[in-house]
Amino acid sequence: MSDSLYQEIILDHYKHPHGRGLREPFGGEAHHVNPTCGDEITVRVAIDGSTITDVSYDGQGCSISQASASVLHELLTGTTVEDAFAVEKTFTELMQGRGQVEPDEDVLGDGIAFAGVAKYPARVKCALLSWMAFKDATARALTGAGQTSEEETR
C-alpha cells in the first residue's frame, strides 16, 4: 500500500497523537463539525504577545482528521501568529490542489504526508477540519471576541 492515503506518518500521528487534550489557559476556542461525516474537533489557542504558546485540541473522527490535528499542534505551537497563518495557508493550498501542488517539507514538516489526501476531495475536508477551527480560534484569541465559536465546516 505504498500509494495508500495512509502514509506511515499519518498512522503514527493517529495512533499516537501529539498534544491531544484541551488545556488552560487559552485565548480562543472553536468547535467545528463536518456535517457530512460527523467528525468534530475543538481547538484552543493560547497566545502570548505575538507567539502561539499552545494549541490544544480534542475531538473524534477518522484517522485523517485526527492525525491532521496532531500535526497542526506540532507545527504551530511556539511559532508566531504570522508564521502560523503562513503554514496554514500552505497546508490549505496543498489540500485544495487536487494533487497538483508539490509539498514543501521545510514549511509543512510531517504535513507533507497529507499530499496524497488532496487527490480525494471527500477527504480534504477531514484534513482541513482542525486547521479551520485553528484559524477561527486564533482570530477569536486576537480580537478577544469571546472564547468559543461553534461552526460547521463545509
Partner: protein, 421 residues
C-alpha cells in the same frame, strides 16, 4: 459457509455490464458494493441511448416530422413500460421526473402551494404531515419546508433498537388531522422493508394520503401499486440499471388530477394566454419543458432488461446474498450490524460499524483493495443520530453481485482491522 445456490446465472448477467471489467488502482478488479447509491448500466441500456441519439433524436410531442414522431413514440412507449412494471392502472399515471427527489418534492410542493381546488389537497395550519425517522433526506427536507411554508405540523415515526419502525403509537401519530403519510418502502441505510399494509390501513381510516418512496424497492422486487394500496409512489431510474437524470412519480389518477400543477412551462399547458392559462391532463400536466427524453427511453430499456432477467429472481438472488453477507459480517470480530440483523423483512443493503475504526477509514481502506462501499450517513442522518453513531459503512447488492464479492468484503474488513489494530 458455502455460497448458496442463486436463481440467476450471475456470470452471464455480469457480461452485460461492461464496467464490471474495470481494473482499479493497483490492478484490483472492481468489487462494486454500492448499488443502493447508484446501479451500474447494462449494454442494452447504453445501446438504446446511443441508438436514440444517432437515429431518432428530436423533441417530443411538438413535431410533425418523422424524427419527432419516432422520438415521441419511443418516449411514450417508455411510459407504457413503466406502467406495466408497477402494474399501474393507467399509463397516464406515470409522471417522468428527473429523479426520486423531484417526485417527492412535486407532491410536497403541490400540497403546500395552496392552489388545489379541493381543500383535501391543501396543507395548512392544523394539518399534520407524517414521515419516519428512517427516511432519506429527500423525504424529510421537502416536508419540513412544506410545514414551514404552510404551518402544518411535521411528525414522524421513531425506530426500534433493531432498526424497524416503531408502530406502537400509530393510532395517535396518524390521526384525523393527518393529510399525508410519506414513508420509505425499503430503507437505504438500514435495509429494513417496512410494513406498508399497516400504515396504509390506518391512513385509510383517517383519510390521509400515503406516498411511498420506492427508490430502494422498485429496483429489487416485483411491485404492484394496487396491491400495495398506496396513493403515490416515487422511484428513480439510476438505481434500477437506468440512466441518471430520470425518475418516476406514479399516482392514482384521482390524486394526480386533484393536485395543482408544479413546474410551469412548455407542453404542460392546454392553452396559454397572457391573462391566464389552463393545463393539460396527466401525465403532461406535470412534465414542464423538454423532458429527459433519452433518459426515459433508456429507463424503458432498463425495465425491459430487469423484467427479462426477472424481478422475482433478482429478489431471490439478493436475499441469498444478504443472508450470506450477514453471516460473514457477524463472523468478523468487532463488526456490528446497524439495522435488522436477521432476514426478516429486509433487503440487500447492509450497514455496519467496525469497533475503533472510523467508517471513513473503513471505506477508504476497502477502496484500496478495490472494494467500493459507501460510508457516511447515506443521506439519512437521523438514523445515525438515533443509533448514536457518526456514520456507517454500507454494502449494497444487486443482480450482478456475487458471493465472491461478499467474501472480498469480509477479507477486506479483516485487513482493515489488522491495519488499524
Amino acid at each position: 459457509m458455502s455460497a448458496p445456490h442463486s436463481p440467476l446465472d450471475v456470470d452471464r448477467v455480469r457480461k452485460d455490464f461492461p464496467i464490471l471489467e474495470r481494473r482499479l488502482a493497483g490492478d484490483h478488479p472492481l468489487v462494486y458494493l454500492d448499488s443502493a447509491n447508484t446501479s451500474q448500466k447494462p449494454t442494452a441500456v447504453l445501446d438504446t441511448l446511443a441508438e436514440h441519439y444517432t437515429r431518432h433524436n428530436a423533441n417530443v410531442a411538438r413535431a410533425v416530422h418523422q424524427l419527432g414522431e419516432e422520438s415521441t413514440a419511443a418516449y411514450e412507449g417508455a411510459r407504457d413500460k413503466l406502467a406495466a412494471l408497477i402494474k399501474a392502472p393507467s399509463r397516464d399515471e406515470i409522471i417522468f421526473t428527473k429523479n426520486a427527489s423531484e417526485a417527492l418534492n412535486l407532491v410536497a410542493h403541490t400540497l403546500a402551494s395552496g392552489l388545489a381546488d379541493d381543500p383535501h389537497y391543501r396543507l395548512g395550519p392544523g394539518d399534520e404531515i407524517v414521515v419516519t425517522q428512517m427516511e432519506h433526506h429527500s423525504n424529510i427536507v421537502p416536508w419540513q419546508l412544506a410545514a414551514k411554508r404552510t404551518g402544518a405540523a411535521f411528525r414522524w415515526f421513531g425506530l426500534t433498537d433493531d432498526g424497524r419502525l416503531d408502530l406502537s403509537t400509530i393510532g395517535e401519530l396518524i390521526n384525523e388531522r393527518t393529510k399525508i403519510v410519506s414513508l420509505v418502502h425499503q430503507s437505504n441505510s438500514l435495509g429494513t422493508v417496512n410494513d406498508v399494509a399497516t400504515v396504509v390501513a390506518r391512513a385509510r381510516e383517517v383519510g390521509a394520503l400515503v406516498l411511498l418512496d420506492g427508490s430502494q424497492s422498485v429496483p429489487h422486487q416485483p411491485i404492484d401499486v394496487t396491491a400495495l394500496g398506496v396513493d403515490l409512489l416515487a422511484f428513480t431510474g439510476h438505481k434500477m440499471v437506468g440512466p441518471t437524470g430520470i425518475g418516476v412519480l406514479w399516482g392514482r389518477r384521482e390524486v394526480l388530477d386533484a393536485l395543482p400543477p408544479f413546474l410551469g412551462g412548455g407542453e404542460m399547458i392546454e392553452t396559454v394566454d397572457m391573462t391566464g392559462s389552463t393545463f393539460a391532463p396527466i401525465p403532461h400536466k406535470f412534465e414542464a419543458g423538454t423532458p429527459p427524453i433519452a433518459q426515459a427511453i433508456g429507463l424503458g430499456a432498463a425495465v425491459d432488461y430487469l423484467t427479462g432477467v426477472g424481478l422475482d429472481r433478482i429478489h431471490e438472488h439478493e436475499l441469498g446474498l444478504t443472508a450470506y453477507a450477514l453471516d460473514k459480517l457477524n463472523a468478523v470480530d468487532g463488526v456490528r450490524i446497524i439495522g435488522p440483523n436477521s432476514m426478516e423483512s429486509r433487503g440487500g443493503t447492509v450497514s455496519f460499524v467496525v469497533d475503533g475504526v472510523h467508517p471513513h477509514d473503513v471505506g477508504q481502506l476497502l477502496d484500496e483493495q478495490g472494494v467500493a462501499v459507501r460510508v457516511g450517513h447515506h443521506c439519512a442522518r437521523p438514523v445515525c443520530v438515533r443509533y448514536g453513531i457518526p456514520a456507517t459503512t454500507r454494502a449494497s447488492f444487486y443482480l450482478y453481485t456475487t458471493f465472491d464479492e461478499i467474501d472480498a468484503l469480509a477479507d477486506g474488513l479483516h485487513q482493515v482491522k489488522r491495519f488499524f489494530g
